[in-house]
């Protein structure tokens, strides 16, 4: 069911159900190892909403984002985008979907082709989709560069990425993602590899564009503090599963899951008086992705694990407060 703008009847733009993305890094005759990068995630994103996905390295947050824009194959589950099942798209239908859903990658140094001018990189999406004619495309490129405040745009078009800073390159990537005027953007740690001074600028640029163009953004980050300022809702991931989800202010100021609590406790506080106080941290490293623990995946590191329950039964994600869900036996 979708209306004229292509929105599903319930106002959700993206609806993922029991999404699984598994990788088989080594497949042999006798051994087959599986990495369950995304292992049964259900996620709804409303139109015009910014949803943050938070987690440590290896939690599967990047894979989740890539699966939503079909850059990695979906093993199981469905992703519906404005009523279309994205998981099965092929050929021209997939190409049409690419016009509506775009991505900004983490590493601005790796996501620009070093052999093409900025102008050519921005032109490419339009050329691939056959939008406009050469002169209107050039104008669109200049407009996009001005939109991300890379000025003077007429000079920037002819430069190569290697002459730019990380922040400038990331703005090129944002401009490139915007060329097709997508409804949905996956921003995969868009500020983690650029100078602290440019981070706030990039995020406020994204927020401004989202407000002005009515875009929907999936913001992937390991920085839970930035999720609070930038996103409407937050999903916390651990080893490919969702451990907590809810409105960002609630998740961050009243975290329910011990893992989320640990992540927030690890955020440094800008108060010199606290500089010597020990911050509690989550002990240990995330387990090997090919051998996820039984029961609750977090029980091996959880300070409040319930013996006998947590290592055998996997907790389901349950709404314990309005809109705020957690997957933890402590709340059952």
């Amino acid at each position: 069911m979708s209306d004229a703008q292509g929105r599903a009847a319930n106002g959700m733009l993206v609806e993922a159900r029991e999404l699984r993305v598994h990788f088989y890094p080594r497949s042999g005759l006798f051994r087959r190892s599986v990495v369950k990068a995304v292992d049964g995630i259900s996620l709804d994103i409303a139109s015009n909403e910014i949803v943050a996905v938070v987690g440590e390295s290896g939690s599967g947050k990047t894979t989740l984002g890539r699966a939503l824009v079909r850059l990695v194959p979906i093993t199981e589950g469905t992703v519906s985008f404005a009523g279309i099942n994205v998981a099965g798209l092929e050929g021209d239908d997939l190409k049409a979907y690419r016009r509506r859903a775009q991505v900004v990658f983490q590493d601005p140094y790796a996501s620009n082709s070093p052999f093409m001018t900025i102008g050519d990189q921005l032109l490419e999406p339009l050329a691939v989709h056959g939008i406009g004619d050469p002169s209107s495309r050039r104008e669109a490129v200049l407009r996009a560069l001005e939109l991300v405040r890379l000025t003077p745009a007429s000079d920037v078009v002819d430069t190569y990425p290697h002459t730019m800073s990380g922040g400038q390159r990331q703005r090129v990537c944002i401009a490139r993602a915007l060329m097709l005027e997508p409804e949905f953007i996956v921003a995969d740690e868009p500020v983690s590899m650029i100078d602290a001074s440019s981070r706030a600028e990039i995020l406020s640029l994204l927020r401004e564009l989202q407000e002005r163009r009515g875009m929907t953004i999936l913001y992937i980050t390991h920085d839970i503090a930035s999720a609070r300022h930038f996103s409407d809702r937050t999903l916390v991931m651990y080893l490919g599963t969702a451990v907590e989800a809810g409105p960002s202010p609630a998740v961050i100021s009243e975290p329910l899951h011990p893992y989320t609590q640990g992540l927030i406790a690890a955020v440094p506080e800008p108060d010199p008086a606290n500089r010597h106080s020990l911050r509690s941290v989550i002990p240990g490293e995330p387990p090997n992705a090919t051998a996820a623990p039984s029961g609750c995946p977090f029980h091996t590191r959880c300070p409040r694990a319930i013996p006998g329950t947590c290592e055998s039964v996997r907790p389901a994600l349950k709404e314990v407060r309005p809109g705020h869900a957690v997957a933890c036996h402590l709340y059952e």
């Binding site: 890539r66 824009v69 850059l71 590493d107 620009n112 082709s113 999406p125 990537c173 060329m179 097709l180």
Partner: protein
């Protein structure tokens, strides 16, 4: 850019001088001399041999011989006259160079035409039967010594097809078809050793680039796999390809030495082998210097090619 090229050309001179000293000394260190070759078929006395050595200048002090050779390098004779035949070295080496240069050009062209598409196909179908076959054949082809492959090929052509390559070389200007019939086999043999390097680097580089974020970014904006390959991956792979093509050129030239001898091509390789056996010092020395300069020039071309393929490479003054 022009200044850079001029500087690089200027640097070839000292390199060639260094090589000339080494070649000169190595040749003198070998036992025997050209007088023995010339007089091999005639009964002669020690006095006659000594008189011939005096006449050829072989009894002069080494530094005199060296300076005489270097001085005549600057003339059209390119190092004096052959001790064996009395022909100007320039004429001998010039004729041989055209044969070897053509052989090398055919080999490089053939290798590029095969290695790039095949490497791309293997990279795009990584891990499939096609990829493994291409890789296996490339490794096998790389592992067979050129001498062995040359002799095997001649034997196969003779025994199975009762065909042998023409004995008399024809330049492309004389008889193009005959020329092709002569050159195809040596060029194939050289390509068998040269092409696998290009193929492997193309495949490896493409696999790398096809997994990069900017390839994913291109896919995300709807570019097809061939589109990603042609527009984004191949330009990047070109840099590595040009590097390997240049580095392996030296090996290609030494391979030419073998196949020219086996196939009787009047090239620099066979010329240098023949002259070295006859201890025809000026010919060996000048031919070696010509080869050194040839390889250095190819290296220069490779460096210039970087600037042409890769916008990050600039020589000389920066404009940006």
């Amino acid at each position: 850019m022009t200044r850079y090229i001029l500087r690089r050309i200027a640097l070839i001179v000292p390199a060639a001088f260094g090589a000339s000293l080494v070649v000169f000394l190595v040749m003198r260190a070998l036992p025997g001399d050209v007088a023995l070759t010339i007089l091999a078929d005639t009964p002669h006395t020690v006095e006659i041999r000594e008189a011939l050595r005096d006449e050829l200048g072989l009894n002069d002090p080494l530094h005199t011989q060296y300076l005489r050779w270097v001085a005549s390098m600057g003339t059209a004779d390119l190092g004096g006259t052959s001790l064996e035949t009395g022909e100007p070295v320039g004429t001998i080496v010039g004729g041989q160079l055209s044969v070897t240069a053509l052989l090398a050009a055919y080999t490089v062209a053939m290798s590029l035409l095969v290695a790039v598409p095949l490497g791309a196909a293997a990279a795009m179908r990584r891990g499939t039967v096609l990829d493994r076959t291409v890789q296996g054949v490339a490794t096998a082809s790389l592992s067979v010594p050129t001498v062995f492959a040359s002799l095997l090929l001649v034997w196969v052509l003779l025994r199975l097809f009762r065909w042998s390559p023409p004995i008399i070389y024809s330049s492309p200007g004389e008889d193009l078809l005959e020329h092709a019939g002569i050159m195809i086999w040596p060029a194939l043999l050289l390509a068998a050793a040269y092409l696998p390097h290009l193929l492997r680097v193309t495949r490896a580089r493409l696999i790398d680039v096809l997994q990069s974020d900017y390839a994913d970014a291109a896919r995300a904006r709807g570019l097809s796999e061939p589109g990603v390959l042609v527009r984004h991956a191949l330009p990047n792979a070109m840099v590595a390809l040009v590097t390997v093509a240049g580095l392996q050129f030296g090996a290609l030239v030494s391979g030419a030495l073998v196949v020219e001898t086996v196939f009787g091509l009047p090239g620099l390789g066979r010329g240098i082998v023949h002259a070295a056996l006859a201890r025809d010092y000026p010919v060996v020395q000048s031919a070696a210097i010509v080869l050194v300069v040839l390889v250095l020039c190819v290296n220069l071309l490779v460096d210039l090619a970087y600037a042409a393929v890769d916008p990050r490479v600039h020589y000389g003054r920066r404009t940006a």
